[in-house]
Symmetry: C3
Subunit: 159 residues, 3 copies
């Protein structure tokens, strides 16, 4: 089967049992993304299922490591959906650039990189080499609205 780069990404996700959700909507007076001469800036993403926030709380307290990883993966899936929305399809995507990963954490929880690896892994599974990215992990005591994960992603695209 021959497909476009867009088909390939959707097929890879399907092979993982995943379907792209509807792109999330801003909670406030901002836009979900801005595109500027080849660089795309996404607003912060958090875990949503059927448009509703899930996996609320802190990893290491209300959430286990595995729940944190599920939350990170779900957030990454939403990021992919927003990139597709921004570019119409995955064809023009050159690649991810910068991922800032925030894990709401109990005071003694230190395994943020393992949590965020669940997001990074999905990016690479879905996008291949285009999913590679620079990353920074953070361990805030809380995030707005009690979200467990926040991802802020910058990407590159062909105009």
């Amino acid at each position: 089967m021959i497909g476009t780069p867009d088909d390939a990404v959707v097929q890879r996700l399907a092979a993982l049992g995943l379907i792209l959700p509807r792109p999330s909507k801003p909670i406030g007076l901002y836009r979900p993304f801005r595109l500027d001469r080849g660089t795309g800036y996404l607003s912060g993403h958090w875990p949503l299922r059927d448009g509703m926030p899930v996996h609320l709380g802190r990893v290491g307290a209300e959430l286990t490591l595995e729940e944190g990883r599920a939350a990170a993966r779900l957030t990454a899936l939403g990021v992919l959906s927003s990139i597709r929305e921004a570019l119409s399809d995955f064809g023009p995507l050159r690649g991810l650039l910068r991922v800032d990963g925030y894990v709401a954490s109990a005071a003694d929880f230190q395994r943020q990189p393992e949590v965020l690896d669940a997001a990074s892994e999905l990016f690479i599974q879905a996008l291949g080499e285009r999913g590679q990215h620079a990353r920074t992990s953070f361990a805030p005591a809380r995030l707005p609205t009690n979200h467990s994960i926040k991802l802020v992603v910058t990407f590159s695209y062909d105009e």
Copy 2:
């Protein structure tokens, strides 16, 4: 009255009863902004009045929601001043790109998006479509020097 894009922004602010303050000065060994081939990077901004920090403390504790919104709006006004300083006037500004908004927050305060909307609204009131931006909100327990708000803004301009 016919004016330049710069005039238009200043006039819109005047209609809101606002005057651009002097651009703020760095507190340390850094520059207020960097311009690089069409993309501008501003250093972090916080609420200043006549060059002095105001609205210190956490929203939901020392500050009310409305005081937090006033702090966010004042910070956004400083951002506009710094963009104008960076570009000499608003004419070359293509638009805002990414706004990272930090609201120093009491542990149980969760209305950060409402606080930051006061900044986003001013950007749009002053700049119109050019004021639209991607945004991420954060809820740190504290910011340096006990500031209540910090905005980190990236923008696009014509060279």
Copy 3:
């Protein structure tokens, strides 16, 4: 002695008694940097000596101001090493753009800008005008793996 821009940076560091360390390796499924059409994005850096994390803890609690400054300077040295690794040498570097500086801080510690100035100063000592940057300082209660400092750096280069 006439040298390339690369030599000059290495010589300036040597005059300060500093040698570039080996570039740090990612702790997770990400890349140390991404280069995209003239803009470079580094993953977060923290203080390493001989590849091992040092200066763990919070400034104002487990660490003094001077220890925090030593940690910031050491982190900046690692940033320089990663930029060199990304570009092969310092020749193509146009300059630093944005530095996000995180200082893990005791609740009552407010001198984050002084801590981060130790990093900014090293950038300028090593790179001259190319080391100038926009900067934002943050005061999280903790960082992943109990690091005291995290620097997230974006830079500009000639392709």
